[in-house]
């Protein structure tokens, strides 16, 4: 067995567990990068882009909802801001979407802080309710504003294929790699956060506010910071999504349904875990797209019914999410 240690094991060690996580992520990213070689079908490609994009979105949501425990059901606001700002800046001023996305993300961060200032003094469920109400209000504002095109929305002009303008008429492939890049970025951000002071403080706030305070954690500031990081990446994904679909209107980027699609994958896959959001997205997003294509239109709401059943099933059978199923096959190691 282990030798009696004379030097205590450091509390901050680059453990084999973290190295393994990184290795798995690298393998997954490589496999996903090669996947388009095997996929020719446009319909399937479409589903893949959306799945990866919402995996990334849910990973961003998880930073606030999973680590810090602040359950937002209004992330569509940040998503919508990212989408609208990126498109509007491009259409009205010719600003390239790369900069537009950053502008949208910056505005989303400012909004997240402005909303957090009053809302993070609310505890638990009240915060969640506030996010729903704010998102609904934002939806109405956008639907009635002029620069957003009102209820009609905004359409990207037709332009030649270019990485600068992110316009690709004939192929979805560039959007696939764009989404994959973003998903890798949000995964790495989460992986880094898990091992930093901020990540520890956020999880402490999630677990026990009084205990966190007794260790010197500024609870309010922790929530604000987690919210800002989460909003940033959510808005960037909103920009990518807008250029992928090339047409946005209030319901397609800012409705409650979007908030659900952002939060549910993490909840289903494993809230506050590194792989939960991606696992949840793999299950939920293709299902939503398939029901939509079979039943037409909004899919007669069948996807919502299935989401509901899945979330109920997971909370009864596997409260730690789909990710905990992995441990049925892979033994847990330190």
């Amino acid at each position: 067995m282990a030798q009696p240690q004379t030097i205590p094991a450091p509390i901050t060690a680059f453990t084999s567990r973290r190295r393994r996580q990184l290795a798995v992520a690298l393998a997954v990213a490589l496999a996903l990068a090669l996947l388009p070689l095997a996929v020719a079908d446009v319909f399937v490609m479409n589903i893949l882009v959306l799945t990866i994009l919402f995996a990334s979105l849910s990973q961003s949501w998880n930073i606030l909802g999973g680590y810090c425990g602040q359950i937002s059901l209004g992330h569509a606001v940040y998503f919508g801001i990212g989408a609208y700002v990126t498109v509007a800046l491009f259409v009205d001023f010719g600003i390239l979407p790369w900069f537009g996305m950053l502008a949208g993300a910056a505005i989303a961060v400012v909004l997240a802080l402005a909303l957090g200032y009053p809302c993070f003094r609310l505890a638990g469920h009240y915060y969640t309710i506030a996010t729903i109400v704010i998102a609904e209000a934002a939806l109405l504002l956008v639907a009635n504003a002029e620069w957003t095109g009102g209820a009609v929305g905004l359409q990207l002009p037709f332009a030649p294929d270019s990485w600068a303008t992110l316009q690709f008429g004939r192929t979805k492939l560039p959007y696939y790699y764009l989404a994959l890049g973003l998903a890798v970025a949000t995964w790495i951000v989460s992986w880094v956060i898990e091992d930093t002071r901020a990540g520890y403080w956020w999880r402490a706030v999630n677990s026990d506010i009084a205990a966190a305070q007794s260790l010197g954690v500024n609870v309010f500031r922790s929530k604000m910071a987690a919210s800002a990081v989460s909003a940033f990446f959510t808005a960037v994904a909103g920009g990518v999504y807008a250029f992928f679909v090339s047409y946005i209107d209030p319901t397609s980027v800012m409705s409650f349904h979007i908030s659900l699609l952002i939060s549910l994958p993490a909840v289903l896959g494993g809230i506050g875990t590194l792989w939960g959001p991606a696992l949840g997205a793999i299950v939920l997003i293709p299902m939503g797209e398939l029901t939509r294509s079979y039943f037409g239109g909004t899919g007669l709401g069948t996807n919502l019914i299935v989401y509901g059943v899945l979330v109920m099933a997971i909370s009864l059978l596997r409260p730690q999410g789909l990710v905990s199923l992995v441990h049925l096959f892979v033994p847990r190691r330190a």
Binding site: Q5, P8, A9, P10, I11, T12, R197, Y200, W201, R203, A204, S207, D208, A210, A211, A212, Q213, S214, L215, G216, V217, N218, V219, A334
Partner: protein, 234 residues
């Protein structure tokens, strides 16, 4: 080091503390004792900033702290271990300790107290990668104290550390408290077990319905006839 003057506090109109004054000098152990509901815990919670003071002053190293938020008080160098311990149950022992250490920015400052904590509580080293929830009551108390020590406090506030612990470990906890003091850390100890507490304390105050009824050195309090009959059962 810590000065409490005419402190009053209460919950929802109920008076929990009235006109409580005491001081703790650097390196001392002060015991706060009394029956259930006498206001012992409220003293600690008010000093730690968990419960607001209604009137009176609390000063730490000459600076008023009675209107500071709990986390700011911790940052000044006062660590509070609440009665319920409040560990992070789904985190490992290591991560619980690590959370205490993050008060300090430099890595060396964060790692340094670990050796002290593990010397005080060698059991924790065996349990480093277990979830805190799987520890026994005594081990959880050790971890709670250890986690507080990771913040490198100058004043440690302990609320009923012997509660819910098997008798064999109680002695170990008290030994640890003595050793913490030997390391130069001042201690404010709330305890029901008066005999054991007075054995390690320099000073003691005894509360009844929110007021101090007996105060003095450990020897004086031990010799007080009322204390002997009511609290020490002699």
């Amino acid at each position: 080091m810590l000065e409490v003057r005419h402190l009053a506090a209460g919950y929802h109109g109920l008076v929990a503390l009235a006109d409580v004054s005491f001081g703790v000098a650097a390196g001392e152990i002060l015991v706060v004792a009394g029956a259930n509901g006498a206001g012992k815990s409220t003293v600690l919670k008010t000093v730690a900033g968990v419960v607001p003071a209604r009137s009176g002053t609390i000063t730490f190293d000459g600076a008023r702290i009675d209107h500071l938020a709990a986390h700011r008080i911790t940052r000044l160098g006062m660590a509070f271990v609440p009665e319920e311990r409040r560990l992070f149950p789904r985190m490992t022992v290591r991560d619980n300790l690590r959370l205490g250490s993050y008060l300090h920015r430099r890595r060396a400052d964060r790692e340094a107290p670990l050796a002290t904590v593990l010397r005080l509580f060698p059991r924790l080293e065996e349990r480093m990668d277990q979830l805190a929830a799987t520890l026994s009551g005594g081990e959880q108390q050790m971890l709670a104290i250890g986690r507080a020590l990771m913040t490198r406090p100058r004043l440690l506030m302990l609320d009923e550390p012997s509660q819910g612990i098997m008798p064999r470990l109680v002695a170990e906890i008290f030994r640890a408290i003595e050793e913490v003091r030997r390391a130069g850390i001042t201690i404010l100890l709330v305890e029901q077990r008066l005999t054991e507490s007075l054995a390690i304390a320099d000073k003691a105050i005894i509360l009844r319905t929110g007021r101090i009824v007996v105060a003095g050195t450990a020897a004086e309090v031990r010799a007080n006839p009322e204390v002997r009959s009511a609290y020490l059962g002699m």
